[in-house]
Amino acid sequence: MDLLRFFTAGNVDDGKSTLIGRLLYDSNSISTDIIETLTRQSKTTGTNSEIDLALLTDGLRAEREQGITIDVAYKYFTTDKRKFIIADTPGHIQYTRNMFTGASNADLAIILVDARNGITDQTKRHSILSAILGIPHVLVCINKMDLINYSEARYKEIETDYLIFAQQLALKNISFIPASALAGDNVVTKSDKMNWYHGPTLLDFLETIEIAETKKIEAARFQVQYVIRPQTDELHDYRGFAGKIVSGTYKKGQRVIVLPSGIETEIEKIELHQKEVDVAETDQPVVIHLKDDVDVSRGNSIVSAEHLPKTEKEITATICWMDNAAFIPGQKILLQQNSFRTKAIVKEVISKVDIHSFLELQSDGSMKLNDICKVLIKTADAVSFDTYSVNRGTGAFILINENTNNTIAAGTIN
């Protein structure tokens, strides 16, 4: 059984929370005490339905009071086929950073479209963000079909509109499902009102979709998180480099290069949970031992000698500005990529991405909350990276304000 991480973006108005609530409720993932609480709350908030499923996802007092989703909430459910992690993110433009956050490590995006309204600015914005974040699959869920009499013609029209719009985006896999979250059509149970639709229900789709694990065929990438040195009598010379395999596979005896130093050496031993293994795969937490006694510390990379990443002090990237305070030209910042951290500076704001048209607009050099911009960043120490479209694991980074310590931007390397 594997794990699928997906995110949903939208507002209460689109039925996003209702949809998640429906998935959890109909798959028996909600306990009776929580339903009791919800029933009580639903009465206070005065919604018409028996239980306001939206209340399930709004965890903070301020959210319940205002009836909006402010922050990312994580929800979990398991069926016989899969474990699911849902990042439930707000849809409003002022919460773009929260959506960016929830979507960053998702395998799949569920984009909700209100069948009455068709493709809106919000649909476009969410799709563009999904494209920037390289989400492997996009599911367009055309919701509220009950309010358009389950019309096939309208559904087809929205599907066509979406595909025309999506042509300019490099979205990898797009699927469509007509549904009504409120009425329960095609969420967990197949609707008897849309005989013209022969595809899976939403839950069927989630349970069976094959997530393209392109990572496995990428070059071997590993970054050191921590150096294990027991310094005991019997383990006097033990020096193991602990970290997670970001991509590819590592084998005993493999030729590798340590970056940024560029020294070539060989893998002497790989340990996984204190046992020696010959081969280790992507995502496994391992301890690597090198044949030669080379200088390796936290944040250094140990990579395939055959296929090197770029190692540079200047990168161009697409970043989402996440700080309430706007960007100040010349501001000293830190760049963090996995466990690697270096001082950096944004040298130039090259352009601003219009998140409704995906057009690159001329930049006036400013960046404020929720802006998406292409920038040139100069770093103090060289960064070893692949472009984000090739490797999500080495092509992503965050920017930290050295003064406030806040995470002020998230970026993907171009």
């Binding site: 059984m1 007092r61 979990y76 929260n98 294990i228 694991g393």
Partner: protein, 302 residues
């Protein structure tokens, strides 16, 4: 194209990654250990993350004085068996030195008082990161909390000022006096924890399995084992039942559930069938209000 990791392997890998980030990013971290199943899993994960080296942090237990003896014995034995440092600080002592009002009522919970001791021990050892076993599926405010959750000098959580947390990049930079609460098993559910305990053959305190106990029935129908800390008035219904604990907290606020489960497999089946959530079934402290947990977190609790 090979398959993705099995879900338990994926959760385990994520937790180990987070533990190693704590070791790499902080000068004085600590692992908060309660003797409950979640923190027991954390210790197991730390062994996987750092052996054959020593843990880069001590285990810290905030002892409310209302703990189950089984959990305390387990704690001491575990620390000895793995040869790691254990620091214990008692709420009892905090109450004395700070002249605090002890908990009152029939079920006098020291849940709120615990926060004082926790903040004191953080200050005493200047801990900059505290690893805890909280999970997002436990409670709705927890569902919103980051894996690296920054707390100010007063230990307070501000849900509206949380740092964005993207991919698996964790920003643990803080100013002196602040600390970060780190939750490596945020993405695990109760069932995941049990499946992991089963797979890894992790030993647990005996109270997680069925045993006979004398209990009183609360007004909400919960079973509280009779013990010297409860302030009973003698009018309660006393019953003897076969019970086990789904969570191990204080004897004053953790209820038992009726159960015949004496093997982990039985427990897993029970949870799959369970109609009531873990905290709903067992915790009296969350029943106070809709935002009980959010409020406690804001004032420095886990």
């Amino acid at each position: 194209m090979s398959k993705k990791l099995d879900y338990l392997d994926a959760l385990e890998a994520e937790a180990i990654y987070i533990l190693r980030e704590v070791a790499g990013q902080f000068d004085r971290p600590a692992l908060l250990f309660s003797g409950g199943k979640d923190s027991i899993c954390l210790v197991h994960l730390a062994l996987k993350a750092f052996r054959p080296g020593k843990f880069p942090f001590p285990l810290v237990h905030v002892d409310t004085g209302h703990n189950f003896q089984e959990a305390l014995d387990y704690r001491d034995n575990l620390a000895k068996a793995i040869g790691e440092k254990l620091i214990v600080r008692k709420v009892e002592d905090t109450i004395k030195t700070k002249k605090l009002q002890d908990a009152k009522g029939k079920f006098p919970s020291r849940n709120g008082l615990q926060t004082y001791t926790l903040l004191d021990v953080i200050e005493e050892f200047e801990f900059d990161a505290c690893i805890g076993g909280a999970r997002r599926d436990e409670e709705k405010a927890r569902a919103k909390e980051r894996i690296f959750s920054v707390r100010d000098e007063f230990g307070q959580w501000d849900p509206k000022m949380q740092r964005p947390e993207l991919w698996n990049i964790y920003n643990g930079k803080i100013n002196k006096g602040e600390n970060v609460r780190v939750f490596p098993i945020s993405n695990w559910t109760e069932l995941d924890v049990w499946n992991y305990i089963k797979r890894e053959k992790i030993e647990l305190p005996s109270i997680y399995f069925t045993h006979e106990r004398e209990c009183v029935v609360t007004e909400h129908g919960q079973l509280m084992c009779t013990n010297k800390f409860l302030q009973l008035d003698g009018n309660e219904e006393v019953v003897i039942k076969k019970v086990r604990y789904r969570t191990v907290g204080d004897m004053t606020c953790t209820a038992a559930v009726e159960s015949e489960a004496y093997k982990i497999e039985d427990i897993i089946n029970e949870i799959k069938e369970a109609k009531i959530s873990e905290r709903g079934a067992t915790r009296m402290d969350d029943r106070v209000s809709e935002a009980a947990m959010e409020d406690r977190k804001k004032s420095g609790y886990f």
